[in-house]
Symmetry: C2
Subunit: 383 residues, 2 copies
């Protein structure tokens, strides 16, 4: 395939390389870069997965996923998210990330346009270009004042060639959770179109602000045109396990099924078996973790606003996206300088979209002590 210039190694790599060099020299790094919760998977899931391997669930399986797990997920999406779907709509994937690229591969034709809400997860743009090198990406920025959807710009970006819009709520990197009013307006904009919505809901259970979770797949007006994408990585502490899923629009089921047959064969059989009741386990630990996230979101917002930066308080997810233009540096220079001088690792805004070079992403996924040390480092760097 033609690998376009948009398909580059993650912009965060050079910082992790520099951080590794410092660690090798014995220096302590305060990492506000990583995007994974710091808790382990629930013990009962580790046990059920181990038992499944011991009990022989080690052979080829259905390419779309283990039926019992697909049914469990379909019921979850119906009951919790109001999405009308059935077992056969569900495709289990190697992480939500793979679900996203499969959806793009299934629907994008050369010349199709994708409306990508920016700033966004670092892999969206490369994934679009891997899935279809001749797709045209129209980035539409969130409003700078409050990270709300900019409907004027979205409407202006829509054309007869628009194939899909990619949405992520709770949002990485902005911390925004889109509101009912925003979803209503977006859906009404799309209701008479044939545009697909790809809804990345991976941070669903990390939602600690005032806005409830809304899944666009629950709107009748766009029925049959929404890929609802989610996974277990963030909420169950299993980022490395790579188990995600999507609810596939019926008219795309054959394409997705064909692609996963020839790309995956199946997703790890014993893990699927071990997770077949995953949403039934006690998720009380998520309450404590969300309390931690809320506290850290407030702390970072208050501290950095007081230090002269512009911070919009995150409502969900693991990140705070901070305007650092007061320092007068481009985002990668800011991040490199901060790492050099204060041993604090953050992610430059440019990694999340070309118009966000005056921002950095600060993760509050980790331990409070490390976060506080990191924020103190940032404050010193600003002086």
């Amino acid at each position: 395939m033609f690998i376009s210039k948009e398909v580059q190694p993650s912009a965060t790599l050079k910082f992790s390389q520099k951080a590794k060099e410092k660690i090798a020299k014995g220096e302590i790094i305060y990492s506000l870069g990583l995007g994974e919760p710091d808790f382990d998977p629930p013990v009962e899931l580790i046990e059920s997965v181990s038992a499944a391997a011991k009990n022989g669930f080690n052979k080829y399986g259905n390419s779309m996923g283990l039926d019992s797990l697909r049914l469990h997920i379909a019921q979850k999406l119906q009951n919790e998210n109001g999405i009308p779907c059935e077992k056969d709509d569900i495709c289990i994937t190697f992480g939500a990330k793979q679900a996203l690229i499969l959806a793009l591969m299934a629907i994008l034709q050369p010349g199709d346009e994708v409306i990508n809400i920016s700033p966004c997860y670092v892999s969206y743009v490369p994934q679009i270009k891997i899935a279809e090198p001749n797709a045209i990406i129209k980035n539409v920025d969130l409003c700078r004042g409050d990270f709300s959807l900019d409907f004027q710009m979205i409407e202006a970006a829509i054309s007869g060639k628009t194939k899909c819009i990619i949405l992520n709520s709770p949002n990485n990197p902005s911390g925004k959770v889109f509101t009912r009013a925003e979803f209503d307006q977006l859906i009404s904009l799309l209701s008479d179109s044939e545009i697909y919505l790809i809804s990345d809901e991976i941070y669903e259970y990390l939602n600690f602000g005032q806005y409830g979770m809304i899944s666009p797949g629950s709107y009748n007006e766009v029925a049959g045109r929404v890929f609802t994408i989610n996974g277990f990585s963030k909420s169950f502490g299993m980022t490395g396990w790579r188990i995600g899923y999507m609810a596939v629009p019926k008219k795309q089921r054959k394409s997705i099924s064909t692609l996963v047959q020839h790309i995956n064969t199946n997703v790890t059989s014993f893990i699927q078996k071990g997770l077949e009741g995953i949403y039934n386990i006690d998720r009380g630990y998520l309450n404590s973790y969300n309390m931690h996230l809320r506290k850290m979101a407030g702390y970072i917002t208050d501290e950095l606003n007081a230090a002269g930066l512009q911070v919009i308080k995150p409502q969900g997810g693991l990140f705070c996206f901070v305007n650092v233009s007061a320092k007068g540096l481009k985002s990668d220079d800011f991040a490199a300088g901060l790492l050099d001088e204060q041993n604090v690792a953050v992610t430059p805004g440019i990694a999340f979209g070309e118009n966000w070079d005056d921002y950095v992403r600060i993760s509050f996924a980790g331990k409070e002590k490390e976060i506080r040390s990191g924020i103190e480092g940032i404050k010193k760097f600003l002086q």
Copy 2:
């Protein structure tokens, strides 16, 4: 992406559907269709993988793979296969299947030609077209008399646009193990070119005939142009685990690394950790299994030759590819009729290449008793 007509669901699906219907009705099916060994993963590997999950190897990891496992594989490829490679050349993937499509994605540009040795694994052709919809596939058939490489045809197929040749030895579906003489001749044909070799060596340890395993990556003449692809599925009874790998030519390392970052993030971290010493375990069970395969290969060859079919005795792999033209049916009609009348499931030759519609693939991966019943059914069907 443009999904071309070559990208179709596996041709074997309609048979498995029919077989399922029969099973649901309480009928016994003799399955000679499946391509997976019937033994479980070694207990110590199930235990080490479970321990890795318990011990916290559940987070994001290196996109190219866990360093300890990559080093272990590089040493195996050096020592057993004579391939000069190092840790950083190794990429761990979700199965050998994913390694193959990643290699194709990395190297193929629109208009490039791929020489595909036919008959071949059912996913090669769809994978080429998924990786690059505008690639041109030149299928070159194995010689019908002995399934040897047809060098006249290969030479005729090579052009200035040839980007790669895909080879699979031991071969699915033919059971052929390419000889030293064949590899010598192939390599000399390619030595002054820039053509890549993609060598699928997944059946390496299922090799029960007279020919030793040869890895084309060991030839200096094509150094830097061979993707050596292998995995643990077939030899360690873990087809459903989906752990494969490839040795990546140095000049393609950056492309592969970028692709896996944006497609996989990483391959399941605790499984990689648990398998970091996989080639050190006692593989005595493979001796017994290869004895079973040799016995079954001989049995099937003798029985079906005696029954009037043309059978070339398999040397490796799990399959016998049988010329059934004596029955006067196209391969899918043969397979459908055999399933209908005798409850025996085989795979039609057309699934492995358009010129092989007078063949069927018979798997001898399973239990002797089932294989004997299946062969008896075929003999009755032929009468």
